[in-house]
């Protein structure tokens, strides 16, 4: 009945396009399904079901011995401190790079209407550095750093610091540039230095946004520091990796619970901070 409508007096002009789009989608989907070895039925074969069941049945009761919980407490603190320390280092690195990369803080642009060549080169260089730092995923930084500084939290801290310098630097520069340029520009015009212009011009106008973005990134850093534990950068992720290798379901379950709680708490704290400081 629906096919009969094809001979209708008022054919749908979009129909051909839809058919084409559907065919193209199928044409693209097929190699994707092959490349990703998409075989859902393997989930249901006896062996896979058996091992899943075996693992899941170990979940109850979750591990709750005193020593284990103490160990978890330590690992959780390590995760939080990796994130905090990493973000602090990232701030220390991002602020000077932001100053270099922000166009509205350029003195030469103001004087002659265009930037001096050296200034432009440095600015562009700072931007490229920021792009490079944030494009490499934090886990890849961690993998590399583990090979340089060895296993342990140092690699995690540095990995977070490097990635987040790139992210913070980019977004800070965007926020500062989109904030009202007028105050900054008039300060610069009256001969004040770049830093003074920043502190009295751009910063007050966009402080709330900067704080809010930084706390959001802290939340992300906590997730990131869990994940990096899986490549040996310390914290609760590393403990989880060990427990997974031993297929200790009860420990994994406890850690998952801790993890969900940790993320929820970080969410609460960062919302609170944003309200309080912004």
């Amino acid at each position: 009945m629906i096919l009969n409508a094809a001979s209708a007096h008022h054919p749908d002009p979009a129909w051909r396009g839809r058919i084409t789009a559907a065919l193209v989608a199928l044409f693209l989907l097929w190699p994707m399904l092959i490349a990703s070895e998409f075989k859902p039925w393997t989930l249901l074969d006896a062996q896979s079901l058996g091992s899943t069941w075996h693992f899941l049945s170990g979940f109850f009761p979750p591990a709750h011995s005193r020593e284990f919980l103490l160990l978890m407490l330590e690992a959780t603190w390590q995760t939080i401190s990796i994130a905090t320390a990493g973000l602090t280092l990232a701030l220390l690195g991002a602020i000077p790079l932001t100053l270099l990369a922000t166009k509205s803080l350029s003195v030469s642009l103001l004087e002659s209407g265009r930037m001096r060549l050296a200034g432009a080169v440095i600015r562009q260089g700072a931007r490229w550095l920021l792009v490079l730092l944030r494009s490499v995923p934090e886990l890849v930084w961690a993998l590399l750093l583990v090979r340089i500084v060895g296993l342990g939290p140092t690699a995690g801290v540095l990995a977070i610091a490097l990635t987040y310098i790139g992210m913070l630097g980019k977004v800070y520069a965007e926020i500062l540039e989109s904030s009202e340029a007028h105050a900054t520009q008039s300060l610069l015009k009256n001969g004040s230095g770049r830093l003074a212009a920043l502190f009295y011009g751009a910063l007050p106008a966009s402080a709330a946004e900067l704080v809010s973005y930084t706390t959001f990134r802290w939340e992300c850093a906590i997730r990131g520091s869990v994940v990096m534990g899986f490549v040996g950068a310390g914290g609760i992720g590393q403990r989880m990796d060990e427990s997974m290798k031993m297929l200790a379901g009860d420990e994994v379950f406890t850690m998952l619970i801790i993890f969900v709680l940790l993320v929820a708490c970080a969410d609460l704290v960062s919302t609170f901070l944003r309200k309080r400081l912004a």
């Binding site: 009945m1 629906i2 409508a5 209708a8 007096h9 008022h10 749908d12 129909w15 839809r18």
Partner: protein, 272 residues
């Protein structure tokens, strides 16, 4: 009988609101199958509320109400919903999704008759574009069949809502201010199409109107509402200038303020 209302009272929202303004108070009304009735009255008189009550969109506080001889609120949820398929309520500003195509928006009038999968199939490919075309042609909108709703003007959108009414299989049309966005010539044409359609399928037509002259000129029966009460309910021959004057006394004839007229409706939560 299409509709029988005995002592119907409707109140909205919170008690603090000026509820006398938009309530219905003790309304008695009987409308026979195939009858054509115009509802007139000042803004906020309860015309929209009455139409919603007739459409079983919300339940009256008190009183007896029956549609096609059954009491909708005594029925089960599913039976009542099936009953709604026989009623068609066209709101004043038809709320059509802006990015939808006109053909789909019109064919949505067939949804009560369609199975779920038929409905989905018609989203992918309109299952009956000819019906939508014919319905739109009644309002000179056939060129817009495959246009997007947000490309239509306000008046075109309103007639698009009427076209949805034409493709529906309803036995009663409840139309709220169908002419508010139309110029006088189009108003007459549109009203004409509605009335012819109602006559040809012996459907009941209840239509609220701001334009008293159009109501008196085209509808055999006129119901005047004011402050939620039926002030008069008479054949048009018996409606006098004095009755009209009394109906609109101390109120602004608000053809221009359609927004105000639409407002009382906003705090009615529909019941399903």
């Amino acid at each position: 009988m299409s509709f029988v209302l005995r002592g119907i009272s409707v109140r909205h929202g919170s008690a603090e609101r000026s509820d006398t303004l938009c309530a219905l108070v003790d309304v008695n009304l009987s409308i026979a199958q195939g009858e054509q009735v115009a509802l007139i009255g000042p803004s906020g008189a309860g015309k929209t509320t009455l139409l919603h009550t007739l459409a079983c969109a919300h339940r009256a506080e008190s009183g007896e109400f029956s549609v096609f001889g059954v009491e909708p609120w005594a029925l089960s949820h599913a039976e009542r919903h099936a009953l709604r398929a026989r009623l068609f309520l066209a709101p004043q500003t038809p709320p059509l999704p802006p990015r939808q195509r006109v053909v789909t928006a019109v064919l949505a009038g067939c949804l009560p008759q369609w199975s779920f999968w038929q409905a989905i199939a018609s989203l992918i490919r309109p299952s009956d574009p000819d019906a939508a075309y014919d319905a739109l042609a009644c309002f000179n909108l056939q060129d817009k069949l495959y246009a997007r709703v947000d490309r239509l003007s306000g008046g075109e959108r309103q007639r698009c809502g009427m076209a949805r009414l034409l493709v529906s299989k309803a036995d009663a049309f409840l139309v709220d201010e169908p002419l508010s966005a139309l110029d006088p010539t189009l108003s007459l044409q549109t009203l004409d199409v509605l009335q012819q359609e109602a006559t040809s399928r012996n459907a009941t037509l209840v239509c609220s109107l701001h334009q008293v002259e159009l109501a008196l000129g085209n509808f055999p029966r006129i119901v005047g509402l004011r402050e939620g009460r039926v002030v008069f309910d008479a054949p048009r021959a018996e409606v006098t200038e004095a009755m009209i004057a009394a109906l609109y006394r101390n109120t602004q004839q608000t053809e221009q303020s359609d927004l105000v007229a639409a407002q009382p409706d906003e705090h009615i939560a529909p019941q399903f």
